[in-house]
Symmetry: D2
Subunit: 465 residues, 4 copies
């Protein structure tokens, strides 16, 4: 790893330049990783001292020295020792007295430090940055849904016009899906565990010094705000992290779904939503008239990188006997996956903040087939008034409407075979045949309900004030 004049532009991974979220650096960078590992060594020393196993002075020396350890010196030392944690320990030791030297890392194996440090830094990254970012996105979704709860839009299934909804209702589907995913991530983060059970998990080393190694472990971890794994080997159980990454991937997929919907609603033939030119809508290098939804495309494209990483996570669940190291290099890639995810959350939030519904186009598109839309309520009502075969009968009238160009309503109203049934319709039912845009079910009411529910849930979880 040569340095020299290091520039962002000498790098290979776009997570390190193009999609770098600066706010995640204190948690996910390699430097921060060293800091977190030092913090774990300090917590260990503190409890060792409290127990009288090492002196209070040693613990203090370790704490002071740890603040001065840099990733660079650890890396240089690793060149010599061929072991990252031995290198870290050595760099603490060079800064302290001989007595304190022998107190460093007492009872611990490398992965007591590594797994615990990772749990803590991932938890912090989520609690301080990523979850607030997810909450921001959820709030924008709530705002849009509420604002547009009455805005009529044609509901689409199979990309075809189905029955009417409101634009707010369409967004409240994401309020609920995204909200649930957010809460799963949040709960998952609170399950993050550390470990201090030694090289094979049986507390072999710590039991040399204490009779209650599980309590000892709990004390060290409580210094760091973590709880101990139910049982560990050299490593903590991989499933908590696998679950967390699954929720991340699943949330990324929900965003990709929304991005895809919105990009399609921006097709010139549809035009139901728009975004201002700028970071998320760009021109072409050769076609000045283009308005390309590059921001939404970017969200979908990053999903294509984040999602397959689950395969890596599943493969890393398998570790032979009390552990092998084949999950080490692979797990070092988690920080960039989290970065790409958070970057896309932030971008999606900005896009949604700037999103403008084009209600005139929503109306225009709704009008295109509004005549046909009545086919559903019509066949249902005919059935309810006793028509023996309403679905098939109405299907034929629809075909007739397509063939003749006459409106379905007109055909229906002039069909003598139907007049008996139509007379039984209540005035509200008859109205739908004339104004299909009232065939909205409870779209608006449901939107209000969902947005209220989720605002309340975020409040209860103290994620918003």
């Amino acid at each position: 790893m040569s340095e020299g004049n290091l520039s962002r532009f000498s790098l290979f991974a776009p997570a390190d330049f193009r999609y770098y979220v600066k706010e995640l650096e204190p948690f996910l960078s390699e430097e921060s990783y060293v800091k977190y590992k030092c913090e774990v060594e300090v917590a260990l020393a503190k409890v060792l001292a409290k127990r009288g196993i090492i002196s209070e002075d040693s613990a203090k020396e370790i704490a002071l020295a740890s603040k001065r350890v840099t990733a660079e010196e650890v890396y240089n030392e690793e060149q010599r020792t061929q072991h990252d944690i031995i290198a870290l320990i050595n760099m603490i030791r060079t800064k302290i007295s001989d007595e304190a030297k022998s107190a460093v890392h007492r009872t611990a194996t490398s992965y007591d430090i590594v797994d615990t440090a990772n749990s803590k830094r991932y938890r912090d990254a989520f609690l301080k940055i990523i979850i607030p970012d997810l909450v921001s996105l959820e709030k924008v979704l709530i705002d849009i849904a509420r604002r547009e709860k009455e805005t009529v839009q044609i509901g689409r299934t199979h990309l075809q016009h189905a029955e009417p909804i409101t634009f707010g209702f369409a967004i409240s589907w994401y309020v609920s899906r995204f909200g649930k995913s957010l809460m799963k991530i949040y709960r998952s983060i609170n399950e993050m565990e550390g470990k201090f059970s030694g090289a094979v998990g049986a507390y072999n080393a710590s039991f040399l010094f204490v009779d209650d190694p599980e309590d000892f472990e709990k004390e060290v971890l409580s210094e760091l705000g973590l709880k101990p794994a139910e049982i560990s080997t050299q490593i903590i159980q991989p499933e908590n992290l696998t679950d967390l990454m699954h929720y991340v991937v699943s949330t990324s997929t929900i965003m990709s779904n929304l991005a895809d919907d919105l990009r399609n609603l921006q097709r010139p033939e549809i035009g139901e939503v728009g975004q201002p030119r700028g970071e998320d809508i760009s021109r072409s290098s050769t076609m000045p008239h283009k308005a390309n939804p590059v921001g939404l495309e970017n969200v979908e494209s990053l999903w294509k990188v984040v999602m397959p990483f689950m395969i890596t996570m599943y493969l890393d669940q398998i570790s032979n006997h009390q552990r092998d190291l084949t999950n080490s290099a692979s797990q070092r890639n988690i920080p960039q996956v989290l970065d790409l995810f958070d970057y896309s959350v932030r971008r999606m939030t900005r896009i949604l903040r700037n999103l403008r519904p084009h209600t005139h186009n929503m109306l225009r598109n709704f009008e295109m087939n509004k005549d046909k839309i009545v086919a559903e309520p019509l066949q249902l009502l005919l059935s309810s008034y006793g028509h023996p075969n309403a679905h098939e009968y109405v299907s034929k009238l629809v075909d007739k409407s397509y063939e003749t160009g006459r409106s379905l309503t007109e055909i229906v109203q002039s069909d003598p075979a139907l007049s008996l049934y139509l007379k039984k319709f209540t005035s509200r039912q008859s109205a739908i045949l004339v104004n299909p845009n009232t065939y909205l079910g409870i779209a608006s009411r449901k939107t209000e309900e969902i947005t209220n529910v989720w605002e309340q849930k975020l409040k209860e979880a103290r994620l918003i004030p």
Copy 2:
């Protein structure tokens, strides 16, 4: 789909012959799928009648007719109508009076039936078959762990000998991981939702007939023991099923990890466990002396089919607007994935029931490096008694031991630079240097704790009596 003389041997998918779990047929077969869809239509009719929207007689007719619908006739009708649910409805209708005909499927869209039927049948398959199978496996793990809690085994990291554990302790790692996964599946199953919100999710159709369509939906679903989705479009939110399948995949991965460990412990050079010849240990067609662990290999191989299916699940989370149908054919593959998973759970259970630890080989392997194992406690104790650089010093003695062939203990005890420290060792500490097999930490105690905890958890969840 031609029939004629259908034989298992005319099939392509091994889930339908070689790995077919007969007990899952009432839930996962195509025939059972039709039955479940009928059941949903019946529940709908029942509540429509209760509400006075259709007559009680119609509801009864529908219930009676639904019991006589067969998958075969539905398929034949589908050839004509090109729609599976229209075909199903028609097959109910051919069996009832004209009045009842128009009552069938009232207010419902196809996916009200499909998604609800799937939720119910998957839930039933898990509650009645798969979860009991998982519990059986967990119980065998608990039994082995308990029985072997004192059986000394060398702990292995990086496939190398590390520090001693017990075989029961190694298994209790799986008791905990597998137990947690089983509970996630169990909780997930209780989240399964249905829907009756119509073609685009806004209750457009049902709101024609009732003022409280959400309550109406709840009533229909409670007939089936399901709860409604918070909000749906044409389909329920895909995330519940995605989560469930994630837990399935993750559980399958844990089994694969265990299978891999056990296969390796059966290498002739290691020989720490054995299985009797039979279904899971087979000879070779040409080498009569071979004892091939084909059962464990099978468990790992099925994992390679089950695991990548998560990619399918993630892709199916994305559905345009109020839904497209690109998740239909793919989701029809879920039953076989569940079958393969359950098959491997059952096979693993049988293998574990027959597994014999070879304690003499465990001891022999432990003895191989027992002399070196003391390096860890030695360097820790030297440090604790003030040696300034114990890790590096002991490392050199280990090298010396390898080079000279003299035992590490001997070298240590004859090293004048160490005698001062060694004198300070307590008798228990000194004992470890001579008998490293006492350097077991709390392996046995921990095993007891974990097995008790999990037995208790299964009891509390009423999964065992």
Copy 3:
């Protein structure tokens, strides 16, 4: 595997009922697998006899008996022997004389039979069914491209209107991509290898009987039309099959791309292509007016099952030492993946045969932004006549056109700053500004070229007459 009244509807895997391609049964069914394995045993016996290692009579007996072996009896015997190939051999043996009995399977290990049989049946399935199906699809693509080579359509990038192409040109992109993929599959099929190198690949057993075991292997395989692997262990090198499946997946992905494009062109707001109602366009169970492109959705959905199977293939490339069996159950899933792939190829072919371009809608959509399309040629021509900053300048005029509602052409022509440049335009260049639909590049010529090239390539490969 219990039988009883076996029905397609008792199955779990849709490849075995809903998407079952009957024509693949002679190659991919379990019964056919047994037949192919017998065929390999027969080829072996034939060469053994030719070499005088067994008697000609024995070889004949084996050949006759092999024709009468059924999958069912092999399965029953496997229950007893716990080994599929031993069971197969036994079922041959029960049908022949004592002398011939001892001649069966001589020198072979199970996987000499298994891997060779699989290579042969996959090759046959491709040569006889799947490749002809692929060729049919390619021919339909060629036909459409040719027929529509002059049909003007707006080219779309980022889902936005870019510059004009022809519909035939759009399809010729698939002619080329699909054609290349087809040829890769075809070449790959001709690389399929067999093996007769024994239990660990060193010809240990056959070298007991012949001095030239590699020639012996070649002779046996040439009976089956296969060539030997360069080197094998117990198994042939997995990479040939992995490559084949990669080409299958890649081809499936190309089809999914095309299906997605065509589904989107069928949105009611776009309407550029249509399909007749029938197997591939279905109504809704509740909305009689819907025309749902279920065929195209099916093609995309099957891709979601086929594609992730590559992960299984990669995992199966890894086999410890001279082989483990963890690829056995997983590889048994290949037949259904091939079936699903072939099913989707056939469905796509039918859809394309029925596809109707709606040229009036193509024209209407083209007209929507035809005014803006000139921005590209305009800025290029202005540049070429010396305008120092044409892209930025034209961009501003485009903005002005959007803001004022005036046509871009009008704005351009009345802009005094441009008149000097516009005068220099040739008449053909000027014409484009007025009729942007002539700004087609060489779309038509290129379409003709590509369709001719691919027709020729198929002929040269003797895939079409």
Copy 4:
């Protein structure tokens, strides 16, 4: 993307620090990407000048200016223009005369530049660095195989002892698999294509200026040593790159297979190979006696990151209509995947160079079951001399040997039922029963053959002198 004091340790992706291959920087870094894009603009200008469309002076100015463009200024400009290629063009333009300004990028669309630049830089990275690295690894494999062609080792199937091979033979399996994969990558690299067909692929823009836009494209690309795509849209066909990455993944999988085998052969109970302490074998932070094969573990772990990226590649094969941009961010991740792959190739090469076979342990392990190994030749020879049921009969003797502890050979030789057959054995056949280590088939001869073949192939491809 803030800069300041950039350090490797502020990064997230380990490809950018821990596993950074400096030699790939001129091809895969972001800076190099800008350089390559400039190179493509220069080639375009050169041909435009040759054709007289722009002046020779303009072309020269563009060439000179392009050398001075830096990634940093392009990024800064992109902040303003929101378009990476417009930013690049602007940075060329700021350095040249007004006349030359208008000549830049003439006829091109962004992806003419992007796709062509990527093809060229990937090709160069492979030709100059990665392929030579692959060749080095292949050469080491050849060397080991040759050197160890006579070293007897027990062949293992199902992790059990099967029949003897030589260690060189085991390695020659990798010589062949790895060699073939290397050649596929090499051929694939020579298929890399560029494009100059404009915004939608129909040469709309270039046809404004030239009558033979395909020839024009060919000329530009031949300046860069690339050939044109058969047909393109805004982008080149994704399949070439998908194929290349498939071969990369497949090669990575082969390495992972070898790494897994070697790690297992280093288990203390097996001990058939060893590595010196150092970069690839490290101690533990707490257990000084450990010799952990971290290098091999690293190779396997990086495979877990590289392999799932194929899912990203397949997803990126799908692009709507004439292209969408959802493959942009994802494809920017290719450089780091190539870096991780190359890093693991280099590491594997070093490991293999240092690998020491422990022939005494190979012999010891072979001896463990050598007695049983004769079961295969014995049953084959008995059969050949007319024993009607040799496999089953020998199986029983093997069981007897296990039960009684008597050697199989002894049991065989004292079995009166066999004496008649044993008398017929030739002396070479009899010898095998006594010295099973001669039951090696043609392991040595085959090893020689394979190593010679591959040395020759590398020579013919001019990959080695």
